[in-house]
């Protein structure tokens, strides 16, 4: 039986013999090597069940020797429980080990701020704790769809071999296959006991037999994957997968935290860079300085190699600043760009930032200077004021840099530069305006203080030279539909032009219509451009309106020998001066007119005084003819008095000979139609040019006799009564009779007419007075006789005195001087006579 309980391997014949011998000895001595010891054994039950038993053999002493007692206990259940407990203990120990690994990992990860370092630590942990020597961690960017190899197990490789391996693995991730790639895309773990059996597997190393890859997930989003590989088939079990999953979750959170930390730090750095740029830009005042500081600032902030700023001028983008950083090459020539062309021009036309990487593959980059410079990536941000693009800021790098990934930062920098540039532009414009205002003030001060037209015109030409450079300039005033050239400077022969008049043309008409200056880039190229005088040199030309009281009173032409000498901005600036000049000219004209009016009134007053000083008709007529002729420097004057249908030539200037026959002074009104017209219409009649006017024979004779050119016939009106006509004429050429001049002649004629009428009345009353005196003398004589005859008859005398007083009063009323010392009025005269 003892033999049966032995393990099968021990059930040998020798053992059986040994047992028999031992037993026989035991029965005799009560001793056995294993007696009294609890022995455990496995036992195969005849029914095949494996049992665990324990038992003890012990002797029972009898009188005749020893009996052998054996008890056996089935401890199978106990043994199985023990085995299960041991296994559980092993599992718990494994978990404890895993937990310890995770704990230490989480402690390590928490201190890491670089995703790459977190990943490298995870791989190191996998190798040290789990014994996985091959592994990699890859990140997946859901926005770009690109994979980034974050870390790869060193696998004991040398540096260069390791780098080669990195490049190879990275290339594998860029392919459209692979287990790790699949896991990162699908977010599910994959465990392959035989990699070659899975079509998704992409073979990078033929030695690899099995692979385990689990996703890196944060907040339900897969950000990448961890994979481990083994050269042993079925190297990974569920526990490995579970462990790697737990570790991957920890790593994912740590990597994401590190990325967020990096992102936060990057944002903080960006904000700091933006602030630095804003401060630097805001401390500048000139446009050039601002552009230079801004260009350097954006290079410092972005670490780009090249930075530049261009400003929009019309359709052109003109470079104003270029800076380089850690870059040995420079632009040979950064040309002016055009809107809509190349990346810079597109940023303007599309009003948005343009990014390019790699630039040499970018068909939009058409001007090639960036490619030729060796740039691989570029960003161009439009500079916007209000909603208008006024320039661009560009930056480029010799490495492939995806600036669009930092578009918020780049475009904020652009915005800061735009603000700074805008402020600088505004400041520069303000400065320019101040300078222009000062120039205008200086220029205007030379004209506004003057009232004399000649001085004003010269002052305008002086001032214009301060405002803008010119080779020649002219001032025209509009009068009677013509342009009168009143002042000019710089012409080859000014004397030919000064005082000349020209018809208005399409250019002056346009300026009159628009009230805006007109600029010709090159007058030589304009067929309709009229050249007055010897002015073939004129290329750059502009015509400025002289506007006063909302009317174009004249023009200022500004001329240069240089084509495109003047631009719209020059014209605007010069127009500001022209407006001042127009006011000065207008004031001078008003002053001239007022002064002339004063002079006219003064002459009229003098003439009135003179006329009042004489009552002799011939002298009066001669005075009128003389002063009327001299008033405005005319050469000839005449006064005709009218007597029904005949005219009487009263006086002329120059005067008629003293013995001029009276019969020759008489003329028939019908033979002088222009005089007749003036008299019938009671308005002045003008012959602007005798050579172009139809004249009667008598008129022709007078015109020839006195060499008359332009004639004005003014009716002499004393109230409603026609007295005659005043005729004035120029003798040294055709001249214009201006409205104020005509008005003045008419005033003089009216004064003359009243004087003539007064003289006539005076002559008539004098004649009448003479008659009365004669009658008074006769009457006085009669009265004296009566007094003598009727002495003492005081009553009659008193009546006589009354009569005499009455008569004297009539004389005074008739304008005649009373007789001095009238004895009749002497007190007591009559009494004395009566007494005598």
């Amino acid at each position: 039986m003892q033999f049966t309980l032995l393990p099968e391997a021990e059930q040998t014949p020798a053992r059986r013999t040994q047992l028999k011998t031992d037993l026989t000895e035991f029965l005799r001595t009560g001793k056995l090597p294993d007696a009294n010891q609890l022995i455990s054994r496995e036992y195969i039950h005849p029914n095949g069940t494996r049992l665990y038993v324990e038992g003890m053999i012990f002797p029972i002493r009898t009188e005749s020797g020893y009996m052998l007692a054996n008890f056996v206990r089935d401890i199978s259940e106990y043994q199985h429980t023990q085995m299960a407990l041991r296994k559980n203990e092993q599992v718990l120990q494994e978990y404890a080990k895993q937990l310890e690994a995770l704990f230490s990992a989480s402690l390590t990860f928490a201190h890491l701020s670089e995703p790459r370092i977190v990943a490298e630590n995870v791989l190191a942990l996998l190798e040290s704790q789990m014994g996985y020597r091959r592994g990699a961690i890859v990140l997946y960017d859901i926005e770009t769809g690109k994979f980034q190899l974050l870390a790869h197990a060193r696998m004991g490789l040398a540096e260069q071999e390791f780098l080669d391996e990195i490049v190879k693995v990275q290339r594998f991730f860029e392919m459209e296959s692979g287990i790790t790639r699949w896991v990162a895309l699908n977010g599910e773990a994959v465990r392959l006991g035989d990699v070659n059996a899975d079509p998704r597997y992409l073979c990078a190393d033929p030695a690899i037999q099995s692979e385990l890859a689990v996703p890196l997930q944060v907040g339900g989003e897969t950000i990448g994957a961890i994979n481990v590989e083994s050269e042993t088939p079925d190297a990974f079990d569920e526990n490995d997968e579970r462990l790697l999953m737990i570790l991957a979750n920890q790593a994912a959170v740590a990597i994401q935290n590190a990325r967020l930390f990096l992102d936060t730090r990057r944002r903080a750095d960006e904000l700091a860079a933006i602030n630095v740029l804003r401060q630097r830009v805001s401390q500048t005042i000139s446009l050039e300085e601002c552009a230079a500081v801004a260009t350097q600032g954006i290079l410092d902030a972005t670490r780009a190699n090249v930075g530049f700023i261009m400003l929009l001028e019309g359709d052109d983008l003109v470079p104003i600043s270029v800076r380089y950083r850690d870059f040995e090459r420079t632009f040979d020539d950064l040309p002016t760009h055009k809107i809509g062309q190349c990346l810079c021009g597109l940023a303007v036309s599309e009003k948005r930032a343009i990014y390019s990487c790699p630039i040499d593959m970018d068909e939009r980059c058409t001007w090639n200077e960036c490619k030729q410079l060796g740039l691989r990536s570029a960003a161009v941000v439009p500079l916007i004021r209000g909603d208008q693009v006024f320039g661009i800021v560009g930056l480029g790098s010799e490495s492939e840099h995806h600036y669009e990934r930092h578009e918020e930062f780049i475009e904020t920098l652009g915005s800061v530069i735009a603000n700074g540039m805008n402020n600088a532009l505004l400041f520069a414009q303000e400065q320019q305006r101040l300078r222009e205002a000062e120039v205008l003030r200086q220029a205007a001060s030379s004209i506004t203080a003057r009232l004399d037209m000649k001085e004003v015109l010269e002052g305008i030409l002086d001032g214009l030279a301060v405002v803008i450079a010119y080779d020649s300039a002219a001032l025209f005033l509009r009068r009677e539909g013509y342009l009168h050239l009143l002042a000019g400077r710089g012409f080859p022969d000014s004397t030919k032009l000064l005082g000349a008049k020209f018809p208005e043309d399409e250019f002056t008409n346009q300026v009159c219509k628009t009230h805006r200056p007109l600029v010709l880039e090159d007058a030589l190229a304009v067929d309709d451009f009229k050249r007055w005088g010897d002015v073939d040199y004129i290329r750059g030309w502009m015509l400025l309106p002289l506007i006063a009281r909302k009317k174009v009173i004249g023009f200022m032409s500004v001329e240069s020998q240089i084509p495109e000498a003047y631009e719209e901005t020059d014209a605007e600036f010069a127009t500001a001066f022209a407006n001042q000049a127009a006011i000065a000219v207008d004031n001078a004209q008003l002053f001239e007119a007022t002064k002339k009016r004063q002079d006219d009134l003064s002459i009229l007053f003098d003439v009135s005084q003179l006329l009042a000083s004489t009552m002799q008709m011939e002298s009066v007529l001669q005075l009128i003819a003389k002063y009327a002729t001299q008033l405005r420097g005319l050469g000839s004057g005449a006064i005709y008095l009218i007597d029904e249908e005949s005219l009487f030539l009263g006086a002329t200037t120059p005067p008629l000979p003293e013995n001029f026959p009276a019969e020759l002074r008489r003329a028939n009104l019908a033979e002088h139609p222009h005089i007749a017209k003036a008299l019938s219409s009671r308005k002045p009649v003008i012959i602007a040019d005798v050579s172009e006017t139809s004249l009667s024979t008598a008129e022709c004779e007078v015109v020839e006799l006195r060499s008359l050119c332009s004639i004005i016939y003014i009716p002499l009106l004393a109230g409603a009564r026609l007295v005659g006509a005043l005729i004035l004429a120029s003798t040294n050429g055709v001249r214009e009779f201006l409205p104020d001049e005509i008005e003045m002649y008419q005033s003089l004629a009216n004064q003359a007419a009243l004087t003539i009428e007064n003289v006539r009345l005076y002559e008539a009353s004098r004649h009448h007075a003479s008659e009365l005196e004669k009658r008074v003398a006769e009457r006085t004589k009669e009265l004296q006789t009566l007094v003598n005859l009727m002495a003492g008859r005081e009553v009659r005398m008193a009546e006589l005195k009354k009569t005499i007083k009455k008569l004297r009063k009539q004389l005074v009323d008739a304008g005649m001087e009373p007789i001095a010392n009238d004895p009749l009025l002497e007190p007591g005269y009559f009494d004395k006579k009566i007494r005598d």
């Binding site: 009898t62 009996m67 054996n70 008890f71 056996v72």
Partner: protein, 49 residues
């Protein structure tokens, strides 16, 4: 304690009990022994070891 009581205790024991006498003849092979070893008492009792 009489022999019958011993016999009963041995027979009711949960542990297998086997006893050989001084001559090596199996004299006790209780029920528990039968169950544990799968060998019936009839096969063992009287057997000289």
């Amino acid at each position: 304690m009489n022999a019958g009581l011993y016999q009963s205790v041995i027979e009711q024991s949960q542990d297998g009990i086997a006893i050989c006498d001084e001559n090596g003849v199996m004299v006790v092979w209780n029920r528990a022994m039968e169950q544990i070893t799968g060998v019936p008492a009839a096969d063992m009792l009287g057997l000289k070891v």
